[in-house]
């Protein structure tokens, strides 16, 4: 894995707050979140249920608006008290990759088109988008299933395709929401190995939200989130065999 390079590239969050509701019923889901993830780095975000992990991910994913703070993704300030762009959809499409707990592949598209869809949505010609998809599928060792339907893949294969989809537009940031939850130890570690490889290869900053005890030792840095605040701690950074 590449050495962490804590510059303004990657992910940089300062004093992020999110309040739901107003007045007596207001709830502060995020109170003071500060994070830095360097390009090529994979960090873990852990915390108990209700601690604010999902809210943070939604703020980072530009699907809900924070209440205050500053967020920089890939060197571009996207939020500083207000969104810096009106087209959040394009921001998500071009600068953020998503990996979900379940792969959520589009069931009516084959593997290649599931991956190629994102570049196509960005205006990339179909042939070029498919070529890029095939390269990614090759890098993730699922090129042999390129023409298959998602329902024909195993759980591990589906998750690798969803990682390929997240990387399809070569975003500076990937947000992974419990990507190993449904997998056994071997497959969970395989997914983490792939994420680390991809982060290194594409200089992508990756945040992995997880509860999974199997993969927590693999992170070099971990952010704990409790009561809407983040606390950084060094991880074991255990090497993943294979």
């Amino acid at each position: 894995m590449a050495e962490a390079n804590l510059t303004d590239d990657g992910i940089h969050i300062e004093g992020l707050r999110k309040r739901y509701g107003a007045g007596d019923t207001a709830v502060d889901a995020l109170k003071d979140v500060n994070m830095r993830v360097a390009p090529g780095e994979v960090i873990g975000l852990v915390g108990p249920s209700g601690s604010g992990k999902t809210t943070l991910l939604k703020c980072l994913g530009a699907v809900i608006e924070p209440s205050a703070g500053r967020m920089t993704l890939g060197g571009e300030v996207i939020y500083d008290g207000a969104w810096k762009t009106k087209d959040l959809r394009a921001l998500r499409r071009d600068r953020i990759g998503f990996v979900f707990q379940a792969p959520y592949l589009i069931p009516f598209l084959d593997v290649t088109d599931n991956v190629a869809l994102l570049p196509m949505l960005s205006g990339c010609p179909n042939a070029e988008a498919r070529q890029r998809a095939l390269e990614l599928l090759g890098a993730l060792d699922v090129a042999h299933r390129a023409g298959a339907q998602p329902s024909q893949l195993s759980g591990g294969e589906q998750q690798r395709v969803s990682i390929a989809r997240a990387l399809a537009n070569q975003p500076p940031v990937i947000l992974a929401d419990e990507p190993t939850a449904p997998l056994d130890s071997e497959r969970a570690l395989a997914v983490m190995r792939i994420l680390n490889q991809m982060a290194s290869q594409y200089r992508t900053a990756i945040i992995v939200v997880t509860h999974d005890e199997k993969i927590i030792p693999t992170f070099k840095r971990i952010y704990h989130i409790r009561d809407g605040k983040t606390y950084e701690e060094a991880g074991e950074g255990r090497a993943i065999d294979g």
Binding site: L57, I64, R92, R93, F98, F100, I106, F108, L121
Partner: protein, 401 residues
């Protein structure tokens, strides 16, 4: 860009095809209903075309002979022939009744319109598909093939047997009943002849009346009884106008000088289409409206249910940057695809089952085109509910749950 709708339809083609078949059968019924109306109008026009007349002369103050009963003396046609512009004039009688097959009281009966015509004059069938026209004054008939009668078959009208000597096609009443042509004399007899018991009763009653059976006037009673037993009425006189003469002008002359009602082709068409089948047309229109609403509801329900089944995928699509209009386009295209499949199935089904309808059902290309546009429009409108649901999907639901 990939066609998301096309891929979804290909992926779950069986669901679309089976749903399309169900919808298609409904559309087939709708097209058939429209065809029933067109058939009624076409029957009415065929009736007018086949009569070979330019004018219909009927009893004054009636809409006869098809929409109302009309009775004229059968010598009026001679007066009409004397009018300027009248090239030919012929008596005709019309009577809807049950015609018994096989010449016995036990045979199956067929609902038909018995038409009394003068051979070679307006009113007789314009063409035959088998056999010959009527040549004798009595007991010969020419039948429309829809009666099911065969050439040479004996049929019974009232109490007389007739031999079918010719077969014709598309000769129907305005109600769609096939026609059976007989000679005018037979037609008059079928329409006005009393049964034997009634004749005997009338004779006895007349003989018992001292004012009609005067001792000092020999032959009076016989003359009165002969008059009562015979019939010299017809329902209409069909007039062919001389080449170059205006039918409306001739009709005006007949109305003015003969104290009769005369209708031109356009007026008669108006009576048949706008008055005679008006209630039926409204009835069919109501069915069409209801079927359109039911079809729209079904399409809306199906597309809405299909969309709800893809809420998670739609959330993911929105999260990764798919525009709302692409998602709306996907749902709209699926609705239109369903409508297209439904229309194709409906058109094929209607074409297959229309020939077995007892009455004439006319499927016109214009109605099919209108139906196609209506189906597409209904599907587009019906998809708005599902599009609304999809647009409301929050992309945040793809994260965390």
């Amino acid at each position: 860009m990939i066609s998301l709708a096309g891929r979804d339809i290909l992926h779950s083609w069986s669901k679309f095809v089976f749903t399309g078949i169900g919808l298609g059968l409904l559309i087939g019924v709708t097209l058939s209903m429209a065809g029933v109306y067109r058939g009624m109008v076409d029957d009415a026009k065929a009736l007018l075309d086949n009569s070979g007349a330019d004018l219909w002369v009927v009893q004054k103050d009636t809409l006869g002979p098809y929409a109302e009963s009309s009775s004229l003396r059968d010598d009026i046609y001679r007066d009409l022939l004397g009018l300027p512009g009248v090239a030919r004039a012929a008596n005709v009688t019309y009577l809807s009744m049950q015609v018994r097959q096989g010449g016995s009281d036990k045979g199956a009966d067929v609902r038909a319109m018995v038409v009394g015509v003068v051979p070679g004059q307006p009113g007789e069938p314009g063409y035959l598909v088998a056999g010959r026209q009527i040549t004798h004054d009595h007991y010969e008939a020419v039948a429309d093939v829809k009666t099911g009668f065969a050439l040479g078959e004996v049929i019974r009208i009232r109490r007389h047997d007739y031999t079918v000597v010719g077969l014709t096609r598309r000769m129907v009443s305005s109600g769609g009943d096939p026609m059976v042509f007989v000679s005018l004399k037979d037609g008059q007899e079928a329409q006005f002849l009393k049964d034997n018991e009634a004749i005997l009763s009338d004779r006895a009653r007349t003989a018992a009346n001292p004012s009609l059976n005067r001792p000092g006037v020999p032959g009076l009673l016989d003359a009165i009884q002969a008059s009562q037993a015979s019939n010299h009425n017809v329902n209409a006189v069909l007039v062919r106008v001389a080449t170059g003469d205006d039918p409306e002008t001739v009709a005006r002359e007949i109305r003015r000088w003969k104290h009769l009602q005369a209708y031109t082709r356009a007026q008669m068409e108006e009576i048949l289409v706008s008055k005679l089948i008006q209630t039926s047309a409204k009835q069919i229109a109501m069915f069409l409206v209801i079927l359109a609403i039911v079809s729209a509801a079904i399409v809306a329900f199906i597309i809405y249910t299909m969309t709800l089944g893809k809420i998670r995928e739609i959330a993911v699509l929105k999260l990764i940057g798919t525009r709302d209009r692409s998602i709306a386009g996907m749902i709209l295209q699926q609705a239109l695809g369903l409508g297209f499949i439904g229309f194709a199935v409906g058109k094929i089904a209607a074409t297959l089952w229309v020939p077995i309808f007892p009455k004439y059902v006319l499927l016109t290309p214009e109605d099919s085109l209108r139906g196609f546009v209506a189906v597409m429009l209904i599907c587009a409108i019906a998809s708005t509910l599902a599009i609304h649901a999809a647009i409301k999907v929050d992309p945040a639901t793809a994260i965390g749950g």
